[in-house]
Symmetry: C2
Subunit: 305 residues, 2 copies
């Protein structure tokens, strides 16, 4: 039985609601706003934003389902490109949930998740997604927990997905000009349809499990860290790390680029930016400090499990 | 007589020194650091940064002169491209001064200037540059003063340069996804060599005058505004405007892109980012407020003179 795009969108809407509920409980104070928006060229979304919570300073859980004529850049980029004449171009449908959470405390990590589904009426379709963690201070136990949970989700479906998609995350969440990873990575995958062992339906199940794993993983990380004490020095370091996060999102992130270039809703796309960020000229952490230790771990190919 | 690239670089170095002197005097407290750096592939620069001054919170006056094999993207972009084989590619030399000043007070505008000279050993050479102003609160008298001064510099050399280059600045300093200009514009020009009325040497004189005009214009704007009072609300608005400034520089600015892609010195390139910036989800200024008035003036094609 063919799974319809509407069915996938409905499940994503439900995922958005579940995650917001779980995050509100974990926060204990902040509440998500709800805003419905429509896109002139077709489709729309539901933006849910939490601000000034007890744990979360600024966070968004965004659902969208947009459609229309496949835009130019899809053809430039796509290995599936077969149609070049504008008159013959196919229709596209893209739906997904995107999350970025910036906690108030520098002891609680920033998290990002995205799950997305894309199809064209010429038969092309694929799944994409990822979860990655950006601790302001890297804690190896938390990093192990985070990656182990992702590995569990992957292993349930395919023996090499974790190692493949962990590597992909290392490569994707990389701030090239800084020669450092955004955080401790996680998993990232794109253009998943079917492959030797996995049908599209099997990959869809994997993809759903990735989405469902988010709330449990992040609420556990909140619980572990939200009551840790911190000082002004830790807070300023957090602002600097958030500056790097903004650099990644504005320069490299493909979702941000896709959104801004396809005339997406600017406020929904840029909700990933932190409430406050900082840049200091030529900042270098003190030798032997926790900040220096964290920097030294912002590298690819670390086995966190 | 042919003007050598070394001569142009020497003059830019002198311009950097003069501007730093003038800004230190205007600030009254802050001092510029001096840092010499070299580029592995050839050349280097002098980075001069001022932090936590009485007027200037963070500012850089950067000089550089780099050279080597012309990089790939120059050929993709350049209308002068004739050489496509890597083995035959020419050598390039690029030298310039770049300035961004972020004042502490929201009543003092952010300013940017860049003057640059580029040549290849295949005979191609050009001048580029620009000055633009980003007031957190637009003051029409200051805007008139700023544009009138730039017009004076332009008019001295060519009757239509001001209107041409003012339009170019409106188009260049535009945050497409926000549908707003970065500030009140100024002048911008690129790939200036010779044209009907102007030899390269005449354009070089115009270009030098642009650089020399900076210190007088900005120190006057500092004098006019530095003692104005402001409150927390004004300060938060300043952080939001700086967020927009960061968006422009990280997404659109060609100098930033060129720098990061050509393996330039990251800290020198990103000194343009403010010490502190802020993003609020879906921020809208109050109806009838000064903030709303400023937003309404962030449009192209305003005649400020």
């Amino acid at each position: 039985m063919e799974i319809s795009k509407e069915h996938i969108s409905d499940q994503l809407k439900q995922l958005q609601a579940n995650i917001c509920d779980a995050l509100e409980k974990a926060d204990g104070k902040g509440k998500f706003s709800i805003e419905n928006w429509t896109r002139e060229e077709g489709g729309g979304g539901i933006s849910r934003v939490i601000q000034n919570g007890a744990v979360i300073e600024k966070g968004g859980v965004m659902y969208s389902a947009v459609h229309g004529d496949a835009p130019d850049f899809l053809f430039k980029e796509s290995e599936h490109a077969v149609v070049t004449e504008k008159t013959a171009r196919p229709k596209f449908y893209a739906t997904g949930v995107s999350i970025v959470i910036h906690p108030a405390s520098p002891m609680v990590p920033i998290i990002h998740m995205n799950v997305r589904y894309f199809e064209m009426n010429n038969g092309v379709k694929w799944l994409g997604g990822g979860i990655d963690l950006t601790p302001h201070y890297i804690n190896k136990e938390d990093a192990k927990f985070f990656h182990s949970e992702l590995k569990k989700v992957c292993d349930k479906h395919h023996p090499t997905y974790y190692s493949q998609f962990k590597k992909w995350a290392d490569d994707y969440f990389f701030i090239t000009h800084r020669k450092e990873t955004r955080g401790i990575g996680g998993i990232f995958f794109d253009r998943l349809n079917s492959n030797t062992e996995m049908s599209f339906e099997k990959n869809l199940n994997f993809w759903k499990d990735v989405g469902s794993s988010f709330a449990g993983i992040y609420t556990e990380l909140i619980k572990r860290n939200k009551d840790k004490s911190f000082n002004e020095h830790n807070k300023q370091w957090q602002l600097l790390r958030r500056g790097r996060y903004a650099e990644f999102n504005l320069i490299y992130d493909k979702g941000t680029k896709f959104g801004l270039e396809s005339n997406g809703r600017v406020e929904s796309i840029l909700m990933s930016l932190p409430k406050f960020a900082s840049w200091e000229y030529d900042h270098k952490p003190q030798a032997g400090s926790e900040e220096e230790r964290t920097l030294s771990l912002l590298k690819k190919e670390i086995n966190w499990v």
